[in-house]
Each structure stands twice: as structure tokens, then as C-alpha cells.
Symmetry: C2
Subunit: 251 residues, 2 copies
DNA sequence: TCTTCTTGCGTACACTATACGCATCACTCT
DNA sequence: AGAGTGATGCGTATAGTGTACGCAAGAAGA
């Protein structure tokens, strides 16, 4: 699976993000809308993955010509940015408790759930995130939950984005494995078994004693278990930097 | 930037990874070799990024016909897998100290350095990692450094891959921003300034008081500072699970 | 020498994004 | 009502992608 880039024309994308009003009421009304295009793209991505999202496919899904899409979206990169902001959800989030640990924990779980629902999401490049209204709203809500820590704003942002980065990375691995399984028809188990013979030979060579001694079930950890482990590590590691108090738990 | 997938024909790739011998000495000797193809691909990726790595481009770089590459590599996905194992370096790594914290710290720094040297690397999908000889060698070395912890093998692997996942995620963001800057000619600063007007308007709306109150320099953290923060958090968070002792440091 | 096997590669096909230009139609102004 | 304006939908064309197929050339074994 190959990475997909966002961020084309910044001004144009921002305008579409913050001002989705239907434009001037001159000329033909138009049966196609920006919202319809973005929604169709998300449907395709949810159903068949990010690499199935092509302009032809979206247009076909909507029953219009391919180039008609370009009347509402500057290009594919901008479309991806719009998809990102769209899936963040419409409604105002329920406020976070004023408790940095509970806030970051809930935020981590929400992001994880979101990335698991839209499995293409962690594969969209976010190195230049366009700040849409929903993204800003969500960030504002998280900041509201972090007001109980004496840490600097810089540390708050660092903590916030570290949770995001880790969860996105884990979701990439998890979703990638699932999608590869569905697409190739080769299950993850079969995939590792296919590597078996070579690995067995390597193990028997005696060059990798510690790897050879590993129990097989070591790699059987479920995504949810991995996520819980990781989230716990993050919160415990952030504690000395945000809480000023001792570590709360261990697992 | 769009995500690139590895993992095509597993058996074929594994054979190429572990047995790069030149094949039977029948027929024409052949001036092209697997190693040359992989090296050329890495050169292109280092110079112009992952999306510049096309079969035509690699062939052109080697002065051969495009389809000649397919005599040595089953396809592009397999080529990416081979590139991955190749950049892990040839030589045996210097052994890790028997100290889980020092080991994971050094491992994290090495992975970070590697991902920063080959900036395309964190964009290659690793959800189905092919275990090449160099990858196995590296993992064996890390396991050797983790023998001082009473934690289970499962927890060792979890800790190990958590460092990998986080560093890869951070490198994706960092490298992605740099590459976008070089490719588009729009600097990161200009990019954020382009978002300025819209964001200022949003801030002045009063709907985002906490975001509006953020100091500007909050987003000026350098990649290295972010990495150091993250690595410290990880090690501190892993301590109660691996060390059985109290937290060592805070920053 | 003749057969066999391998390499190199030209051509073709099915995809991708998107630049350009034209016909169509609705609304606004005269 | 009629003319003018401007946006919409979209057909065509271009430049790129990965790769299946088949053929010519040449070296080693029989």
C-alpha cells in the first residue's frame, strides 16, 4: 500500500473547508455538490480502500462524468484533505473532564475508534494538516481538558500530538494487515507460515538463538491488547511531565 | 504523498532476500543484477522521493530496458521489500548492553537516524514485514539487550515494536513536512501563514478561546526536541512494565 | 553442431490524474 | 421579452504508471 498525499492548493482547500456555501446563484444550479463528492469518496474508501479512490471511480459512483468533479474540487489532494475533516464528525464533542490523564485517555480511544472505523484514514499523509473546522473544534475540546496541568503549552501540544502519532502508527500496522489479508486472500497466519520454512532454517542455523527461543504466541497479541498496552505506557510516561505527581498505574 | 505497498509474492521475495546467489550458470551471463536494481531504486528514492521510484526511472538510471528489471525482481512491491532490508546495513551491529532501558534508547536513536537518512523509508507500508536477514539480525541483537528484565517475551516484543511504531510515525510527519517543502517550494512557515487569515478569523470568532490563547512558538518545536521528548516518555512509561523499578527521569 | 536455457527488451494494455475547450442552461439586467 | 453573463457538465487528449506477452540473441551442455 502506498502513501497518499494531501495538501495541494492551500488557499483553495481552506476556502472549501471553512466556507462550503454553494457559491453565487448565477448560472446553472448544478446537480453535483462538494458534499456529494466528498461523501462518495469516503464511501469508496470505506468500502474498497484508499487505492480504490480514483476520480473515475467516484464519478462513476455518482453517475457523472469524470471531469465534472473538478468543478467542485481543485484536485485529488484537496479531496483527501476534505475527506479527512469530514470524517471527524459533525456534532460538538461532549466536553472533556478537566483531568489531563482522563482527557488524553479518552482522546486516544476516540482516535483509535475513528481510525479503526475508517481504515484508510491513517494512510492519508498528514504532514501538512489542513486545519478544518472540525479539527480545530476537537483540539479546542482537548485543550479544555488539559487545564489542570501546570505544564507549558508546548508540553501540552507535545503530549497531545504524541498520542495522535502513536495511535495513527498502530492503526496503520493493524489496518494494513487486515486490508492486505482481505485484498490478497492470504490470511495473516498463512503469510507467516509462508515465511516459516525460511525462518526455521535461519533459526536452526544457530545465528539467532534468542529469536529461536521465542514462544510462538508472542506474535499472537491482538490489536486491542497492543493498543491498551501502548496507551498505558504513554499515559504513565507523560505523568512526570504533565502531572507533577507519581506514576498512577502499571500493567 | 500516497502510501506505497510492499508484500507481493511472499515466497519469491523471501528467496531473493535470503538467497541472493546469481542463479544457474546457464544461458547468457547477464549484465544486470538484483543488487544493482535494488541499489538504483534506493538511489532514486533517496534523491527524489518514493513517488519518483518507477520501473521506467530505475531502468533509465541503469541504462537498460524497463522490462529487463522483471528478470531480477518479481514486481514493484517485492522491490520495495528488498529496499527495506537493504538499507538496514550490512555489518553486524555492535552488541547492545544488557540493560533494557539503554538498549531501547539506543535502538530508538538508531531507527530515528535511519529514518531521517532515508526519508522515504517510513512511508513504505510495513504491515506485513518480510523478515530479511538484516532485520532478523537486528532484532536478535535487541533481544540480547533485554535479558535483564523479568518481563515476559510478549512484553519485550510489545515494548520493542512500540518504539518502532512511534519513531516511524514521528519520522513520517517530520520527513513528510520536509519533502512537501522541497517539492512544492512552499516552506512550512509559508504554509502555516497561508492558513493564517482563515485561522485568525476563526480565533476571533470566540469559538476557540483556548486555541486563540496559545503562544505562537508552541508549534516551533524542532523534530529533534520532539523526538527526545517522545523517547523519554516511552522509556519512562515502559519502566514499570519492564524494569520493576521506579521511574528514572523526567524532562 | 544442436539443443536448451537465460537474459534483455519492444510492444501493448489497462489504468491513473488532469489541462483544455465547448455546449448548455439559469439567472440578471436592459 | 431579449440579451448578456457566468457557471456547470463533460468529451477529448496528454503524460504518466505497472506489467503481461513474446521474440531475438547468446552462452553452456550434450
Amino acid at each position: 500500500m502506498t502513501e497518499t498525499s494531501g495538501s495541494g492548493d492551500v488557499h483553495r482547500s481552506l476556502a472549501l473547508l471553512w466556507d462550503p456555501t454553494g457559491g453565487p446563484a448565477r448560472g446553472q444550479p448544478g446537480r453535483l455538490s462538494l458534499e456529494a463528492v466528498v461523501d462518495a469518496a469516503i464511501s469508496v474508501a470505506d468500502a474498497d480502500g484508499l487505492e480504490a479512490v480514483s476520480m473515475r471511480r467516484i464519478a462513476g459512483e455518482l453517475g457523472v462524468g469524470t471531469m465534472s468533479l473538478y468543478r467542485h474540487v481543485p484536485g485529488k489532494e484537496e479531496l483527501l484533505d476534505l475527506m479527512l475533516d469530514r470524517v471527524l464528525g459533525d456534532d460538538d464533542p461532549t466536553p472533556f473532564p478537566v483531568d489531563w490523564r482522563a482527557t488524553l485517555e479518552r482522546y486516544g480511544r476516540e482516535v483509535w475508534a475513528l481510525y479503526r472505523t475508517h481504515r484508510w484514514l491513517p494512510f492519508v499523509d498528514q504532514s501538512r494538516p489542513l486545519l478544518g473546522p472540525r479539527a480545530v473544534t476537537g483540539m479546542e475540546a482537548v485543550l479544555g481538558g488539559l487545564t489542570d496541568t501546570p505544564a507549558s503549552d508546548t508540553h501540552k501540544i507535545l503530549a497531545f500530538s504524541m498520542v495522535e502519532t502513536y495511535v495513527a502508527g498502530l492503526a496503520r500496522v493493524t489496518n494494513g494487515a487486515e486490508l492486505a489479508e482481505e485484498r490478497s486472500g492470504v490470511s495473516t497466519e498463512e503469510f507467516w507460515q509462508a515465511q516459516g520454512p525460511v525462518l526455521v532454517a535461519a533459526m536452526q542455523s544457530g545465528r539467532f538463538p534468542r529469536m529461536a527461543a521465542l514462544d510462538e504466541e508472542v506474535f499472537a497479541t491482538t490489536p486491542e491488547e497492543t493498543f491498551e498496552f501502548g496507551l498505558g505506557v504513554l499515559l504513565d510516561g507523560l505523568a512526570p511531565r504533565l502531572g507533577g505527581t507519581a506514576v498512577d498505574s502499571a500493567g
